[in-house]
């Protein structure tokens, strides 16, 4: 009965993707040079974009690929940031090293929270994660050494003497504040690039395939031997780590922390969800598009105070109603273009035609 198996191979790249790899490399090179080219305000803006992008990619990995809709990601931002502050203020550790420690601590925190929240489903999970974040916030608000409810600031020396700042000051004649902006910006750039790289690699691996299966249909995934629980836990820990790193980095740059700000559900989860969903959930491109739109809106409208947020809310509602798969989703559906293809294409002799494919997920 067996039909002779045709000669074939499996491909994941597309022409657009090799093109985008080139563009990506160029953008990266340009991005590295940014602190020398633009004023400080712009560097800070770009820093903001990059860190939001990391948060958005992480949440997207969690919700878009593992189906875990968390509204409590601020817990990792806040915990990471507080870990960093604690390490710097109480132990005199360099902020950059402290940021790495913060990532690890955030991942550690994810273990007990996962034990609890993974018992919950759907809306229970979402609210459960939020409450966990509130609990951690309230506990940290009791930590008087770090300013309790009011919060505290990073000692001036900490950011001023941060590894590398002196170097920049001496070689490029930057002021200390300028140098630390440039430094945090580069770190954010590395983190964003690494996050996208890591997620892209994960998605192209066997684990990524399993993850996509779990998201599409958990029951069927289990039935074909995918360990859905382990898969989700892996993703949850990874996002906690990335989110914690980003959180710590954000607060190295802000240099001031308070529980309300560090655990803000609006800033670190709601806006992030907004970015992901507007850009297109379940794609790597989506959060990138989303964060750029978010930033543009912010810059266009930031002089209008609350009008800006009002517009943001309206744009979110409109996009959800008229392009429920997000801007990138709508674009990709129409053109078939994907910059980060993860689809395994079976190509070979009997399969001369390449069907048009939507984005992965």
């Amino acid at each position: 009965m067996s039909i002779a198996i045709p000669s074939f191979k499996v491909e994941t790249g597309t022409r657009a993707s090799s093109f985008s790899a080139l563009i990506g490399a160029a953008v990266l090179v340009l991005a590295v040079a940014v602190p020398f080219l633009v004023p400080r305000g712009a560097v800070q803006d770009l820093f903001f974009i990059l860190t939001m992008l990391v948060l958005a990619q992480s949440w997207n990995l969690l919700a878009g690929y593992a189906g875990l809709i968390s509204v409590g990601q601020q817990v990792f931002v806040g915990f990471g940031a507080y870990t960093m502050f604690g390490a710097v203020i109480l132990f005199g550790i360099d902020p950059i090293v402290a940021t790495l420690i913060a990532g690890l601590f955030a991942a550690l925190l994810a273990v007990p929270t996962a034990l609890f929240t993974f018992r919950l489903y759907g809306p229970y999970f979402a609210i459960g994660t939020w409450v966990v974040a509130e609990v951690v916030r309230l506990l940290l608000a009791q930590w008087k050494a770090l300013g309790g409810g009011t919060g505290t600031s990073l000692p001036r020396e900490a950011t001023r003497d941060m590894a590398g700042v002196g170097l920049l000051r001496d070689h490029f004649g930057m002021k200390a504040a300028e140098a630390s902006d440039a430094l945090t910006y580069w770190l954010a750039l590395v983190l964003a690039a690494a996050t996208i790289g890591l997620i892209y690699r994960l998605l192209r691996s066997k684990q990524g395939l399993g993850l996509a299966a779990v998201r599409d249909n958990e029951q069927a995934a289990r039935a074909v031997g995918v360990d859905a629980r382990r898969m989700k836990a892996l993703v949850y820990l990874t996002t906690a780590f990335l989110t914690g790193l980003a959180g710590a980095l954000i607060y190295v740059q802000k240099a001031r922390i308070s529980p309300d700000a560090a655990f803000s559900v609006t800033d670190w989860t709601a806006y992030v969800i907004f970015i992901v969903v507007i850009g297109g959930i379940g794609t790597i491109e989506g959060p990138i598009v989303g964060v750029i739109l978010f930033f543009l809106l912010q810059n266009l409208l930031s002089d209008y105070g609350s009008w800006y947020l009002l517009m943001l809310g309206l744009v979110g509602i409109l996009i959800m109603l008229f392009a429920p798969r997000g801007l990138w989703g709508a674009f990709s559906d129409r053109t078939g273009i994907q910059l980060f293809p993860v689809r395994r294409m079976l190509v070979g002799d009997p399969l001369a035609h390449t069907p048009k494919g939507g984005p992965h997920g």
């Binding site: 009965m1 198996i5 066997k206 399993g210 299966a213 069927a220 031997g225 395994r344 390449t354």
Partner: protein
């Protein structure tokens, strides 16, 4: 020794008993057919065997081990492959990827190590020309074939098929029977729920009849089909 053995397995949904002290066994390489009216509990029985539904009472043994409390994933890895009556494709993945998930996770291979087998299975199940199409775009018939392809890709010792022949043309049905016969011939045990009786009886050695969650008959197909109960309850033919 029997490959799969159920002892007094029961399951209730509230007041509804969907499996009522079911006991039977399937030997290594055997083929068993299951028939019964709609809602008799056939699909539920599959879900009990594969662990998608936990049994209230009774034990389920597979390959000598007690799997009653083991999750579906582990049952798959120990050699059970199943299809869902209502197909459950991974809609956003392509057909090839759907099979690849089963072929790499279920069969415990590396991803690239599963490519050849998975492509072969697509060819066998007539899905090769749809390999790169997202599974969400398949028709019902194609979805059912994909169910079969995915189950096969896990390299099962026991294949559980839930109504895969409905709606096929004569020629398609023949091809399907040939495929299943070939799998069976390789020593894979098969349990097949099917309303298309001529297809079913051309393969299975025994038939089990379910009604209201209870086993009301078990034996050679010819005997079962001739029995009064089956003619009355199932075939709706006046006797």
């Amino acid at each position: 020794m029997s490959l799969l053995q159920l002892e007094c397995v029961s399951k209730r949904f509230g007041a509804l008993t969907v499996a009522d002290e079911i006991s039977f066994s399937v030997g290594e390489g055997e083929a068993l057919g299951i028939i019964g009216p709609n809602g008799a509990g056939k699909s539920t029985l599959f879900n009990l065997i594969t662990g998608n539904i936990a049994a209230d009472t009774g034990t389920i043994r597979f390959g000598g081990a007690d799997l009653t409390r083991v999750p579906p994933m582990a049952r798959c890895l120990s050699g059970m492959g199943r299809t869902f009556q209502i197909p459950q494709p991974f809609e956003k993945l392509t057909v090839f990827e759907n099979v690849l998930v089963a072929g790499s996770f279920g069969a415990q291979r590396s991803e690239s190590g599963a490519y050849v087998r998975c492509a072969g299975i697509l060819a066998d199940t007539g899905l090769l020309d749809k390999a790169n199409v997202p599974a969400g775009g398949l028709t019902l018939l194609q979805r059912k074939r994909l169910e079969l392809a995915r189950a096969l890709a896990t390299e099962p010792r026991l294949l559980l098929l839930d109504e895969i022949a409905g709606g096929l043309t004569e020629a398609e049905c023949h091809a399907l029977v040939a495929t299943i016969r070939a799998i069976h011939a390789k020593g894979v045990a098969v349990i097949w729920i099917e309303h298309v009786l001529h297809a079913l009886t051309s393969i299975v050695e025994r038939l089990l009849v379910l009604n209201f969650g209870r086993v009301i008959g078990m034996g050679a197909p010819a005997d079962i089909m001739a029995s009064r109960a089956v003619r009355e309850i199932y075939l709706g033919i006046e006797v």
